[in-house]
Symmetry: C2
Subunit: 279 residues, 2 copies
């Protein structure tokens, strides 16, 4: 039986591109919301999930940080996807036929130069990038285009009329691969591979608390790669800190750091340990 | 001539409640977007603005962190507003007449217990909390209610039928008061008052960089109250750090810390120094 990987969006979404990098042998299962993606793994309907966690233009996907804490699904992998937007049309449609261009508002906003160069095109917000290609094909619209991934064009049998029409090429999204905690095994450590560990913790609201918490990593030369703070519900103006650093939980140095951090933290949870993706 | 204070939303929005605390002598100027609020002060149409920066349930208003950097308007004050949601109706309307309840989706979501207790009420998403009260009054709807602030009920002459229907009372929003940089004067320091300083900085992407940056505050016993990271455009996986700490820029201790931080930072900007609001 083939395994499944849940992701948010329609078939052809950038999350599916990430899923093909992180779980290529799994059948992709598109779901409407991030909540449903986490739920599908928690309740065992899907074996794995792929979620976006941060983007180099828009920042963290804060909702997913909150879900990581709530659902407690371990992170088993990460990958980066360059967000390349394409103008996609029904087979044979030419530029001069296009009146409207559909896509998610964020994607429309990331292709401003393209719309400035083609002022006759009406920007039409749609709920999803790949979903806009699906809709074009289903409705047989020959006076419209959609902005989405190359994967979406392929899946729905549409044509790419203009490649890479995004303004900013430095547009990357980082994705996590998640599994059920019950199915967790300590990842076999591959020598020569760089690993990251992700943790979440809370601290007493005292002066220097965050500095002291970070000292448990810095004084052991563990490289912090990302810090994110989120509000702690029920304790106004206290925060949860999500930290990623380079290290494997089986390393003595990392074990010592986590023990030291546990001494300083009110709550500490390891969210996962996984091979660092190449940038 | 009376001064003006710009805010996002309709008259009666929670931002106007904050404006009445931070700039009570100014005439409130409602505007549709945060961008327009910053723009109105930058181009001199309004003297001041009040913007939400973080909420204890939803976290930071990340868009406004980006605007603080872009528009460079100094922060001159902060305040906290407890978010109290009320069921608001046309004068004389009773509970049993209500079929639909309008409000911003976030406000509807924050009153789930109320809707569970009143299952006949249809939740109807609207673009704004105070705007839903305005619309009820303009259209004379007697079979509907709106969820908004007490200020909105007063401004539009509507009735509060149920007070404080939000699920979670620990729901606070922190707001900043902004002014044009050209009109900036060093705030006269009131003895016995606690001040905060807000800064934004970038660091070289080297191990221990954030730890060393925070040491400039911690080793001088300056209390960090908030840290937020945002992506740095054009440098994938590098971050801007926004930090608030207790201290006045005229204190020698704070001056030393900022000089020390400037040594470590690639970019450092002081966003403002202002009296800390009482929690």
């Amino acid at each position: 039986m083939k395994h499944t990987v849940a992701f948010q969006g329609e078939l052809g979404a950038f999350s599916q591109v990430a899923a093909s990098q992180l779980a290529s042998s799994c059948t992709p299962v598109p779901l409407p919301t991030f909540d449903q993606v986490f739920e599908s793994v928690a309740n065992g309907k899907c074996e794995t999930a792929v979620i976006p966690i941060e983007n180099t233009l828009h920042g963290s996907v804060h909702e997913n940080y909150d879900h990581l804490l709530k659902y407690d699904l371990p992170i088993l992998g990460e990958t980066f996807v360059r967000i390349v937007h394409n103008l996609i049309v029904l087979p044979g449609v030419k530029m001069k036929q296009i009146k409207r261009v559909f896509s998610h508002p964020v994607a429309l906003n990331q292709c401003r130069h393209f719309f400035e160069a083609n002022p006759a095109f009406e920007r039409t917000p749609f709920y999803d990038t790949a979903g806009s290609v699906k809709m074009l094909m289903e409705q047989g619209l020959r006076d419209a285009g959609a902005i989405a991934s190359a994967a979406a064009a392929e899946i729905y049998g549409a044509d790419i009329l203009r490649k890479s029409i995004e303004d900013d090429r430095e547009n990357f999204t980082r994705f996590f691969l998640l599994k059920r905690r019950s199915s967790r095994k300590t990842a076999a450590r591959i020598p020569g591979t760089r690993y990251k560990t992700s943790v979440v913790f809370t601290l007493k609201n005292t002066p220097g608390a965050l500095f002291t918490a970070l000292s448990t990593l810095a004084l052991r030369e563990l490289d912090l790669t990302k810090i994110e703070s989120r509000p702690l519900r029920g304790k106004p103006w206290d925060y949860l800190f999500y930290v990623d650093f380079v290290g494997h939980t089986a390393d003595q140095n990392t074990k010592n750091a986590l023990n030291h951090l546990a001494e300083r933290a009110e709550m500490l949870r390891v969210l996962g340990c996984y091979p660092a993706a190449k940038k």
